[in-house]
């Protein structure tokens, strides 16, 4: 079924390309390159679908919380609103401010979007670990965090290149914030790595297999790390209460104030792509990845692909709930919270995990 969805798609493309290559006598190298491009296209399409879903959910969830309906007009219960908006944004004029640094102004959204998308290649979507994953890096979780933190460069390029004071202030805030919250995020991930003994996302998922009780969520010594991950990931994705880089009432739109058309669209899509990969990573780290919560003895009609998506959506819903409930922190409070609250919590989490491993409760690095 869907467990082989990715494999099937890739195989079909691969076979078709190989057939053509034999017919026309094209070297095998080109076929491999074509397969890689196909994989990349697949990831992009997947990301865009996820982003559209996340944006639609955001609108519906905020509507429900604010006692209104959200989008209702375009398509059944407004389902086509987000694709229509994406189409609309493509037709918008691309305005570059006169005194902007044109190269940086263009580079900003590109870097931001690409780095947000690249992380998806190492996500193990389903149990057929090799085929349901574009590539299984042995440092997968590190790769996800590393590429998404390169996104800061895109924000800085956009904010600086716009030649706008709000954009500059927003970019400065974004860099300070993302760098700080990455530290906390990594400390949470260290705990998971200590527990599972693997940096590969497939390995981390495999460690939580077997039964529901194997999930990191239900291992009490992982709870400090879980709390830390939730808070730090909201900070990392720049959402309320940590949305100071684009605090609307202060900085208009922060670093993307001067963007319009598809360049703005890239920032917007990149933000949700980033949100989704953080949620998927969270689902893999703490919620058992694609593993079903049903006992292994029971037949599971739902493919692992769907389980992982469902878990990621649950994480996203929690983040949306928080976003539409809380006020926004101030910039200094935000930094204090990161360095005086989260980082010490990270050390506590590592100590707790280490203690559990020492007492023989935990896996202790396999």
């Amino acid at each position: 079924m869907a467990s082989t969805l990715v494999k099937t798609i890739l195989d079909v493309i691969h076979n078709w390309a190989e057939g053509l290559a034999q017919q026309w006598g094209i070297p095998h190298l080109f076929v491999s390159i074509a397969a890689w491009i196909a994989a990349f296209v697949f990831v992009i399409v997947l990301v865009l679908l996820m982003v559209l879903l996340a944006v639609y959910l955001e609108r519906k969830v905020s509507g429900a919380i604010q006692s209104r309906l959200g989008p209702m007009r375009v398509g059944p219960i407004g389902l086509f609103q987000t694709p229509m908006d994406a189409l609309k944004i493509l037709t918008k004029e691309d305005i570059v401010p006169r005194d902007a640094d044109k190269i940086l102004h263009t580079a900003g959204p590109v870097i931001f979007f690409v780095t947000a998308v690249i992380g998806y290649v190492v996500i193990p979507w389903d149990r057929a670990a090799i085929a349901a994953q574009v590539v299984d890096l042995n440092i997968g979780v590190l790769f996800v965090i590393a590429v998404s933190s390169i996104g800061v460069l895109g924000i800085m390029a956009g904010g600086w290149g716009s030649n706008n004071k709000y954009a500059l202030l927003g970019a400065m805030r974004a860099v300070a914030q993302m760098v700080s919250y990455e530290v906390a995020l990594l400390l949470a991930i260290v705990c998971v790595v200590m527990q599972t003994g693997s940096l590969s996302l497939a390995g981390i998922t495999a460690d939580q297999g077997g039964s529901l009780l194997q999930w990191n969520l239900l291992r009490w010594w992982m709870w400090p790390a879980l709390l830390l991950y939730i808070i730090a990931s909201i900070g990392e994705s720049k959402r309320i209460p940590f949305d100071i880089p684009e605090a609307e009432s202060e900085l208009v739109a922060g670093y993307h104030t001067e963007y319009s058309g598809m360049k703005f669209g890239f920032f917007f899509l990149g933000e949700y792509a980033h949100l989704f990969i953080i949620a998927v990573t969270g689902a893999i780290l703490f919620l058992g990845g694609w593993h079903s919560p049903l006992p292994a003895t029971m037949a599971d009609p739902i493919p692992g692909f769907i389980w992982l998506m469902g878990k990621a959506l649950a994480v996203i819903l929690i983040m949306m709930w928080i976003r539409w409930t809380l006020p926004r922190l101030r910039v200094d409070q935000l930094m204090n919270f990161a360095w005086k609250g989260l980082v010490p919590l990270g050390f506590v989490a590592i100590a707790v995990t280490g203690l559990a491993i020492g007492l023989g409760l935990a896996g202790g690095g396999g």
Binding site: Q66, K165, P327, R330, V331
Partner: protein, 372 residues
Amino acid sequence: MSETTQAPLTTEEIVVNLGPQHPSTHGVMHFVVTIDGETIRECVPHIGYLHSSLEKIAETLRYEQFITNTDRFDYLNGLGNELCYVQAVERLLGIEPPPRTVFIRTLMAELKRISSHLVYLGCYGNDIGAMTVFLHAFREREPLMDMFEAVTGGRLLYNYLRIGGLRNDLPTGFTDQLHRFLDYLPRRLEEMNDLLTSNRIFIARTRGIGILTARQALSFGVTGPTLRGCGVPYDLRKLRPYAAYDQVEFDVPSFPEGDCLARHLVRMEEMNQSMRIIRQLMEKMPEGEIQADVPRRIKPEAGEVYERVESPRGELGCYLLSDGGAKPYRMHWRGPSFYNLQALPVMVRGGLLADFIATLGSLDPIAPDIDR
């Protein structure tokens, strides 16, 4: 190694224009803010964007014609402005409105106060980043708007008060509508307090922010919840009762801290006090006429009058100078937002940019109340 001389790294202050088009300015306002990093060094409010010469226009209109214009400045307190103007003209003419009229006017002014404070609450939540509060506050305001529509026919601009009277009496069914609202609102306000006022992030953003001392406030002529948030229980409804305020019991909430949180708490409590006043007014509401005998041509004798009322933002004053004609010779309004705004630079200096937004929102300024 090349022989390049490197200038030492320096930082410089930048000037940011907040407004005239900016998401946080309540209406068309403009602030030139000098910031060093994120710290505010100087803030200069620029006003005048909404100046519409209403005071000059008044000199070309007969007394009874100007009532409709009073709704236009401080648009969140339309009936309160009408009350101030009508009382000024009545004092000039020496007319006493019938008791039922006075009660209904007071009732409307208090409903308008609740409505205005709900808008403040929503906008302040939005300024602080709690976007849901905005929609919830506007939802609670909706029954109020329905009531205004039922009574006056308008939702924002009413033209309801008349010199010596009212345009019409309360409609049938209004009492039920009002009581339903009075039963409903306290629960909702409690919910708002749970959601916003008691939130730790909200308190961190408002406590100790934008501090104004009582002495500074008095020297700037600051009034209303902003002054009461500095520990000065100055409320014209209590100190110089007008309309029917001498016949009802209520407290004047006041908090000594002088920060954004104190001003917020004053407004939250004032809504409760307004409901208390409204309940008493409905109990004591007299029957009878709603229109006093007024000369067909309103021509007050030469003289001047200064009438003041407590608007949701502070002391609203109307000065009228009559030369004996059918039109005022000169009219001047004291808008509370203008005076409150003058204290803003003192309050935000040395704070962060985010504090500026929190402080501006806590003053609850209305742009056409600053200029008119």
